[in-house]
Amino acid sequence: MYRWGGCSKLAELTYIGTSPPRPDGPAKASGLSQYADDVAVAGLWFGETVRSPVAHGRLRSVGWRRAAPPGAVLVTAADLPGPNGVQLIDDGWPILAEGTVEHVGQAVALVAAPSRRAAVLAAAEVEVDIEELPPVFDLSEARRQPSLYELELGLGDPEAVLDQAETVVEGEYRTGHQEHIYIECQGMTARWHPSGPRVEVSGSMQCPYYVHKSMVHAFGLPEEAVRVRADAIGGGFGGKEDYPSLIAIHAALLARAVERPVRIVYDRQQDIIGTTKRHPATMRYRSAVDAEGRLLALDVLVELDGGAFTTLSKVVLSRALLHAAGPYRCPEVRVRGRVLRTHTAPNGAFRGFGAPQVAFGIERHMDAIGRRLGIDPLTLRQRNALVPGDRLPTGQIVDESTSALACLESVARRTDFVTRWTEYQAAQTETNGTPQRGLGLSLYFHGAGFTGNGERRMNSPASARLTPEGRIAVLSAMTDMGQGAVIVFRQIAGEAAGVTFDDLEFPEPDTNEVPNSGPTVASRTTMIVGQLVARAVREVSAQVADWWGEQQPAASPYTVKDGRVVGQDGRSTPFAAVARSYLEVHDALEVTVRHQPAPGPVFDETTYQGPAYPTYAWGADIAEVEVDPDTLAVRPLRMAVAAEVGRAIHPRLCIGQIEGGTLQAVGWGLLEEIKLDQGRYLNDRLATYIIPTAMDAPDLDVELLEAAFPDGPFGAKGIGELPMDGGAPAVVAAIENATGLVVDEIPATPERLFAAQMRERSDD
């Protein structure tokens, strides 16, 4: 059951707030969509990756074991035409191992052959000689090595307050790896043009221009010599933000060597061992509170396991620190963080980007404060929740759309939270063998758009132009990985220009066709680029209407509505016809607009003070679970979710995003665990890396709340990542409410609960 809280369609809007079918829906549902491995390419060869079998070692040699298999080609780091690093934050992620190997599964060499079978057999013929070196897996050991990155931010002097405070609460909270498990594994096809140094890659990716930039960097080519196209994308969740650059370079290296198109598609096992994951985190919280549980000071240390290389760890850490104090008011805050290096696959972008980890930390810590002071979770959060005008640790003043209290009210009302939470708590000791029930609450927020000055720096463009048929073509580099940009952009453009969906065209993301409107990440597509789309099409539509008014001054000014250009006399002409007339006397009409940050203070990246995000989306979850008192197996029964999204452009998809993200968070909190033995994955397939299915999902009751963000399209905020933040702490709190077992580490597996029970019994 869904409820639309204040989500009703405003009378003057045609498309915003409705849920039309997505244009790619039938093809996706019927299997007609062409994903990376479906696209037919004449003369295609296939690539395979030879990987390190050990976590750390000196790479002595790579080569064919015997004679090269007929037709097969081998590429190693010695064959690289340019720098051996994927162009990202520090360019330190090797394209192919050179000198050393740093994690199991690291790409050491590539082979290509005319068939998949021949490629697999050829890869088995490659001998990798490695002298093993002692690896680092453990964070306590990693702490003794240099960090990959360190950051710090804060407000006031928390240490002084903590020294004086009557009540100081301390806790350590830990979260584990998470694998994205997008439906479609990673894949890329590359081909070089015979006529010159020009290369084209296509495949499964979130960010065509990231791939473009890394290709330009790796091959030393001019920008116009590289063309990148996104095929239909079977899910991303951040996993196709950084990694596709590496596969694109790999495929292009092989294609260059064999002078034919080459495709690399990972199977699930290769995908799990090779690609990036969510950073495991250890978080230490120390807070001073008054007798009512109000935060007086907060000191936080966040440590992320970066894996062997940086990829995007610096920005993940940055986002983690900026969310570490949670959606709470606290006058004195210090947040420090570092990314530690271990000999495991590099961790990278994953929906939430550091925020889900610290949301688990702060929410468990709030529960620890409540436990200490005997205050229920709702009351404690209501006392501390940010309200408009409050200050974040960065000094940013939160805006009028700050909705923490409204979210709490929504979930508490629907679950009768305090009454039932108190009853369940009282029933903890009645273990007569039947399942125990519990409720858990989480409150969270998520900064939408790039962190800090990312948007300002990127200054992203999007364009709109008239086509010869009289339609408006909307040009952006945004990809649809399932989240629904493909229909949401149509709604925004249709609404802003006053035209119908038939008057609009959306060329596929292709770096030859569309401008670099930035990556499809960071909950920025609808809010940041959607606003650019609205501005660009509105400008095109207005110019056409104005020109028509000049031709027909009697009924001027004209407006565009429902796909028609309407005069003051009420008579109208189809927009397409007017647009074609316009093009008869003009060469073209194309408008490019760029992101304009709102006026006001600018984020300072050296002091970490100022508005780190243009706005925040808000959420609260209440999870209800059943726990078997003997086996400690947990069954999530239902969840009430409140999400304040600014404006739901497409409520159905918006709820879909929130349901999917919530389940992904519950899986991370209860089930999903990457098990490593000497750096090797013990569960590198879907039979053993367990994610929840629809049958395991709790019933989800989502309420959308709307508090418009004036700089977003029609008030919309970015919400792609928000629902990943609250599920894990809510279910773990519910387990505590059911059993009294305090678990500060996820996944909260039965074994971990069992260990907590053993500890508790030995303490008694």
């Binding site: 069954r635 039979a687 597996t749």
Partner: protein, 348 residues
């Protein structure tokens, strides 16, 4: 991208031809029915095959029918979903439907067969890994090596039985028919297994499992049966322990005969004999069932070779055995079921 290795594929239409082919080919000949176990095993190079003989073309090898003596005859190549959904099975042998419903996912139950599930390969953390993984730690003895990584000083392989239908069919006193060029023989199902992770099947290599027979005395009119399966994910997951129970009561409610089999704790469906002995002649009370569960639990000595820590599996095994016994007797199983199985009884 993993691919099948090359092999000769034969698809006889006649059982005698199939037996002759199996006898005539070399030792690297494998039988296949639904293929849900063999094909992935071949792809991952867990098993090798020079020849694969499909049983799916043989007439009369699939189907469920009641026999003249009131029992049930199930052809080995009957898809799992067909067996579980058969009205007679649901009505008369509900424990079997429950056990089969817990196997993998609907698509795999539509492809996989009952005979295939009874012969399904044993599993182990150190075996069910990719070729590169197994090579990188040096192969274990089940995969061409010489050591057991679960118990390095062990002379044997400890891979565990992964069949969910086997413990239930054993507890229902099923028999199986095995056919070879030497003739056919019918044996109690437990005799088809032995306690070795590599050579887990006691049937001869040239024998084909053709039929499963369920006696009339094992149906719901004569006895009570139940099946519980421990797994991490309620919807789709291999068992890390399962328990199948059948109880035959006399007119006074005393246990005349009983069977308790444990799955996934040994290389074969493991009977809990002492627990069964304790039940015979008794009127089952909750207290007695607690004692019996404890006796049966001692038989469950899981190795650290599957999901979940062995210590936890050992600690909760008794609860699963108890749940099956209690549920068979119409008591609340007092065990949290997977979400979609909530309140599930063997007949639901």
């Amino acid at each position: 991208m993993i691919r099948l290795p090359p092999f000769a594929y034969r698809r006889p239409t006649d059982l005698a031809d199939a037996a002759a082919m199996l006898a005539g080919e070399g030792p690297e000949t494998r039988l296949v029915a639904g293929g849900t176990d063999l094909w992935p095993n071949l792809k991952r190079r867990h098993q090798q095959a020079s020849t694969v003989i499909s049983l799916m073309g043989i007439q009369g090898l699939a189907g469920v029918e009641e026999t003249e003596d009131g029992g049930l005859r199930i052809g080995a190549t009957t898809p799992l979903s067909t067996v579980a959904d058969h009205p007679v099975v649901r009505w008369r042998y509900p424990g079997l439907s429950r056990a089969i419903d817990s196997i993998s996912s609907p698509p795999l139950r539509n492809m996989g067969t009952i005979g295939g599930n009874l012969c399904v390969d044993t599993r182990c953390t150190y075996y069910n890994q990719s070729e590169e993984w197994r090579r990188s730690i040096n192969y274990c003895m089940k995969a061409a090596g010489e050591i057991c990584w679960v118990a390095p000083s062990s002379p044997r392989c400890w891979a565990h039985s992964a069949s969910d239908s086997a413990p239930m069919l054993a507890a229902l006193e099923a028999e199986v028919e095995l056919v070879s060029t030497r003739g056919s023989r019918r044996i109690p199902l437990p005799q088809m297994y032995q306690d070795d992770g590599i050579e887990y099947l006691a049937k001869q290599p040239d024998e084909i499992l053709t039929t499963i027979y369920l006696p009339a005395t094992s149906d719901a009119a004569h006895c009570r049966s139940s099946f519980w399966k421990l797994r991490r994910r309620g919807s789709i997951d291999f068992a890390v322990m399962s328990t199948a129970t059948t109880l035959w009561l006399d007119g006074h409610g005393r246990v005349e005969r009983a069977a308790i089999y444990l799955g996934a704790v040994a290389s074969f469906p493991k009977p809990a004999d002492k627990a069964v002995e304790r039940l015979i002649g008794e009127i089952p009370t909750p207290e007695l069932l607690d004692q019996v569960s404890e006796l049966a639990r001692r038989k469950a000595t899981p190795m650290d070779n599957t999901d979940f820590q062995a210590q936890w599996r050992k600690a909760v095994a008794g609860k699963y055995i108890r749940a099956a016994l209690r549920e068979a007797l119409g008591m609340d199983p007092e065990l949290l079921a997977p979400k979609h199985q909530a309140g599930g009884t063997p007949t639901s």
